[in-house]
Structures are given as structure tokens and as C-alpha cells.
Amino acid sequence: MNEIALLIAATLASGTALALAGLGLLLNEKAGVLNLGAEGMMLVGALAGFGAAYGTGNDWAAFAAGAAAGMVMAAVFGLLVIWLNTNQYATGLALTLFGGGLSAFIGVNFAGKTLGDRGTSGIPGLADVPFIGPALFRQHPMTYIAIALMFALAWFLYRSRAGLVVRGVGESPESAHALGYRVRWIRLGAVMAGGALCGIAGAYLSVVRAPLWVEGVTAGSGWIALALTTFATWRPARVLLGAYLFGGVTMLQFYLQGEGVEIASQLLAMLPYLSTIVVLALISRNPTWIRINMPASLGRPFHPGS
């Protein structure tokens, strides 16, 4: 019973990074921009966050540094794809390759350095409830922030006027432009907000989850987060659910190893990636369904005046 509670807790903790990045990318894509640089933004965010935490010892400084780093990376990407109309796939890949290189290059200074254990105090009163307490209420605050963020994003996108404009830009940039909205600036805003969330997700991985610096600390989380938006058919609640699903799969491999299951650890380590592929294939199977839900201008450049 207690083991199950710990597995649930680990799932929530592990899914949080995917949830943060996935929600950020969702906002990106709702505005019609596909950023394949998620992994690069997360890595640079992870590095900036680790550096800040190492220097100040404060998690919130780390998240702020991660957000800033992710935002700068996203701004470079946004400038290229939105104003210079470069190919979104290629530019996103460039961002990932550059972020990987930069984080490895500067990260050399932090190699092998560790941060102190992040004491998770838990929510007073609730943390001591049997089973539910250890399962749900002894998390790092970021876990709850990610959940709150999901509600906030859902409200923003579907209940607020600004969210309507963002969705409009993603569905039909030409119409939004004709109505007088500044499509490029709105897209840049969405891209930078997405970058900030990816940066925070990276910082969460290196500061709270690890907490030590290893090169390539994100291990493909950015790509899984990108798959999440398709998996969730661009719905915030489903992004969160998907994040916990993949978080659970990631934790399952450690759980199985702990239980002494006779499968090589290298094969178990394939699980998150294999399950992403399987789920992606199952969800994408119905092309009509994907087409209906996908922001109509996703990945398409917009030239005002054309």
C-alpha cells in the first residue's frame, strides 16, 4: 500500500516537467507556431536553473533563471520564423542542436556538482493523512503550480478574450490580421511564453528532480512534451493527464528494477520512448480527428499583406 503511494507521488513529480513544457508548447501551437526547439530550450533552462540554484541556493531563483533562459532562446527562434519566415522545422532543430551544445559547453563548469536535497515539507495537515498524504501532498510546490497552470491556461484559452485572439491567430492568421490584430507580435508572445515554461521545466529537472548536473539532463523530455500536444489533441487538461501517464511510465522502470524484475535496465529505459511512439500512433490513427483539433495554421508561415 505504501509502495503504491510512493509510486503515485513519484509519478506526479516526474510528470510535472512534462506538464510544464507540454502546456507551454500547447500555447505555442495554439498560436500556430511549432517549436521543435523544446529540447534545446529545456536544456538551456536546466543549465541556467542549476547555475542559479548553485549560486543562490534558492529554487525560485532557479526557476526564474530557467524561465529567462528559455525565453531568450524562444525569442531568437521567434525572430527567425516569424519575421524572417525561416522553415519552422529546421529552425526548431537548430535551436535544439544549439541548446544542446551550449548547455554542454557551459555545463562543463558544473560537471559532477550536486545541490542539497530539496526538502519537501508537504502541505500541513494533509501530508499526514494515511496513503493520500504521501501519495499526493508531499510534493515540491512546482507540482501544484503545474496543475494550477493547467486550469489557468484552459481559462485563458477558452474563457478570456486574449485567449480567443491567440486561438484566432492560430486558426486563421489572415483573418486575425484583417481584423487588425498584430499577428506577428501575438505569435512572438506565445512563443516566448512557451519558451519560458520549457525553461522552467528544464530547471525543475536539473534542480528538483536530479538534483545534480549531467550533460543532456532532459533525456528527450522536450520531444516527449512535443508529442504530448498531439496526444492531447491540443487540450490543456489532456496535456496534464498525458504528462502523468508518461511520468508514470518513466517511474515504472525504476519500480520494476526495484522489484527485481529480470529485465535488463537498458531495455526498461526504452519504455518512455516506446510508449510515446505507441500512443502517438494510436492517437494519430484518425487523420480527420487530428485535422479538426489541430490549429489550422500550425507550422505555416504568415506574411502580412499577402
Binding site: N85, L97, F105
Partner: protein, 374 residues
């Protein structure tokens, strides 16, 4: 203020000049970075752009490292020209190394003896098939399940890396290897023939150069190549002409998977002669940059492959001579691709100084379609 003005048609000159401008800008940024790190910029740049070209030994190393880059990029060029976004050449490379390495290990432990001229073709074919099989998963899931080839091919890189780890840590581990995660050294009959005496450069480089000609002919002189490119540039026109999009997907994925697998086989049977967890130093990812810098053109890819190979060697030299982290190569690689994509804007637009009065700028239809496919 500066304005981007659409050209009546894409500039051929700029298409060739853009990589050179991007390279020049990369050099400038690199020099600034060296100065910032307190190193002499001239020494730093020398490690990347002069030292790798000094002497036969260094030149053969450049060619050696360029071989997998050129091979992977040739295949990727076919993919990108067909608008198929295979970004998992790294995984297909690893699978080629596994199948070729598996065959070489079998030869090493079996009692069958044959000459190098028997084993080399078989090992290379094994690699091609391995890479193709890995790419087939991507094509199948795209074809049958509409799953994004970008995400599936990338996810399979992580799976392939874990598969390599598993094989060298468990079933294929050399029992006499002091518990290191590595296989036995392959039997000498499976090694690739060296091309230049007393160097590591193998016949794979010659095969690669021959394949450059084959790819040029395929892309620009064959009906199939033409069909693929029409499908990439104007999917609607290709459909109208009756060119199968599914056929294009499968053809381009099989070609690029096969090429990446071949590169993996050459790496395993060439310089490495055994399998370790570090078979690839990101060749499959660097090849994406090679592909774009080489303008998706087989001949251009040879030059960009050699250039990016110099970057790799420069990174190693920078580490040993200047004490800079090897990861600097990755920074320069990403930077080069960024700057290239930015400079590519000049192919379809020209920069004009303009008074602030507003003029609507409409890019021509031709410019828009080429934008969708780099």
C-alpha cells in the same frame, strides 16, 4: 528603416552565397567567443580552420570523420527534398552499426575463414539493411497510423542508443574486456581496407564519393527523383500528376535509412573495429546541418561534410591545445545552422533602405512554395 522586399524570383546567387555568409558570421562570433573566454582568437580559429588541414595525417582524419556525415546527409537530402522530415538518422546509424557489428562479431567467433573482399560487402549490406529496418518503422507508422515522422524517428534514436547499451553491457560484452562495456575486437578479415597507408582512412570514403555521383544522377536525372521533388515542392501538383505520396515516403525513408545504416557499418568496421556505447558522436544529428549547409545538393554536401568534420576535429584540438570543452563544437554547429537559416532569407528577399512610408510587400507565389520546403 530597413525593409525586406520580396524578389521577383529566388536568387540563385544568394542560394550559394548564403552558406558562405553564414560561415563568415560564425567565424566572427567564434572569434568573439574565444576572446571572451580569454583565449587568443587566432589560435582558437586556427584549431578549427587551419590545423585540421595541416599535413596528410590531419587531412585523412578530416575525410574519415566526413564520411559518415556525407553518407547520412545524402540520404537526408532525398528526404527533405521530398518533404519527409526524418530527423532520426542517428538511430538508423546506430542500427547499421549494430547489424554490421553483429555480423563482424559472428565472423570473429565462428570458424569460417574468408578474405576481406568477401566480408566487407556483406558487412556493408548488413548495415544498410539495419538502417532500413529502423527507418521502416518510421515509414510504417507514418503510412498506416499517420504518426509524425519527426517525433517517431527522434524517439527511435533513444531506443537505438539503449539497444546499443544493452548489447555491449549484456549479451555481446567481451568476457576478457575487464568488464568494460565493449565487444571483442573484430577479426582482421572484417576490417575495411585502408585507403591511405598509415592512416585510419578506409575505402568507405571512396565508396561515399562514388555514391555522391549516384545521388546526383538520382535526384536530377531520374524520373523517380523528379517525382519525389515535385511531391516535396508542390504536393497538390504531385497528386494531380498521379505521383504517389506514400511511394515518396517509403522511397525517401528507405534511402536515408539505408545510407545512415551504411555509415554506421563503416564506422563499426572502419575506425572502431568493435562496438562500444559511444559508436556515434552525434553524426546523425550533425548530418542534418551538413545537409542544409550543403543546400540539399550532393556536391554541396561533400563540401559541407568536410567543413563540419573540421569543426569536429577543431573541437578535439581546442580541448587538447586550449583546454576548451569539446562541446564547443556543438555550439558552433548550432550557430552555423541558425545563421544559415537567417541568411537564407536573402534568397527570397532583398534588404532595402526605405523611408517610413508604408508599402505593402507581397512575396510572389513562387517564394511562398519554396519557403514551405527548404
Amino acid at each position: 528603416m530597413l525593409k525586406l522586399e520580396a524578389r521577383p524570383q529566388p536568387s540563385k546567387l544568394m542560394s550559394l552565397a548564403s552558406p558562405l555568409i553564414a560561415l563568415a558570421l560564425t567565424v566572427v562570433v567564434a572569434a568573439l567567443l574565444f576572446a571572451l573566454l580569454g583565449k587568443n582568437p587566432l589560435v582558437g580559429l586556427g584549431a578549427f580552420f587551419v590545423e585540421p588541414l595541416r599535413g596528410t595525417r590531419q587531412l585523412t582524419e578530416v575525410a574519415l570523420k566526413a564520411t559518415p556525415l556525407i553518407l547520412c546527409a545524402l540520404g537526408l537530402a532525398v528526404c527533405y527534398r521530398s518533404n519527409v522530415w526524418n530527423i532520426g538518422a542517428e538511430g538508423q546509424f546506430l542500427l547499421g552499426a549494430i547489424t554490421a557489428g553483429g555480423l563482424a562479431l559472428w565472423v570473429t567467433t565462428s570458424d569460417i575463414h574468408a578474405s576481406r573482399w568477401v566480408w566487407t560487402p556483406l558487412i556493408l549490406i548488413a548495415g544498410v539493411l539495419g538502417g532500413m529496418a529502423w527507418a521502416a518503422i518510421v515509414a510504417l507508422l507514418r503510412d498506416r497510423f499517420n504518426a509524425s515522422e519527426i517525433l517517431v524517428s527522434l524517439m527511435l534514436v533513444y531506443v537505438a542508443q539503449q539497444l546499443v547499451n544493452y548489447l555491449v553491457f549484456v549479451p555481446w560484452k567481451d568476457p576478457m574486456g575487464f568488464n568494460f562495456p565493449q565487444t571483442k575486437t573484430f577479426d582482421a578479415s572484417t576490417w575495411l581496407e585502408t585507403l591511405v597507408p598509415r592512416s585510419r582512412l578506409h575505402i568507405g570514403f571512396a565508396i561515399t564519393l562514388a555514391l555522391v555521383g549516384v545521388f546526383w544522377a538520382f535526384l536530377f536525372r531520374s524520373w523517380r527523383g523528379y517525382q519525389l521533388q515535385v511531391g516535396g515542392l508542390a504536393p497538390a501538383a504531385a497528386r494531380y500528376a498521379g505521383f504517389s505520396a506514400r511511394g515518396a515516403l517509403w522511397t525517401s525513408m528507405m534511402i536515408s535509412g539505408g545510407m545512415a545504416g551504411l555509415a554506421g557499418a563503416m564506422e563499426a568496421a572502419g575506425p572502431l573495429r568493435q562496438l562500444t556505447p559511444h559508436i556515434s558522436t552525434g553524426y546523425g544529428f550533425t548530418a542534418i546541418i551538413v545537409c542544409f549547409v550543403g543546400r540539399l545538393h550532393p556536391v554541396g554536401i561533400v563540401f559541407s561534410g568536410l567543413l563540419l568534420s573540421m569543426f569536429l576535429i577543431g573541437g578535439e584540438l581546442g580541448q587538447s591545445r586550449l583546454g576548451l570543452p569539446n562541446a564547443l563544437t556543438g555550439v558552433f554547429q548550432g550557430l552555423l545552422l541558425f545563421l544559415l537559416l537567417a541568411c537564407d532569407t536573402l534568397i527570397n528577399y532583398r534588404v532595402r533602405w526605405q523611408a517610413t512610408r508604408h508599402v505593402a510587400v507581397a512575396p510572389p507565389a513562387a517564394a511562398v512554395t519554396t519557403e514551405a520546403t527548404p
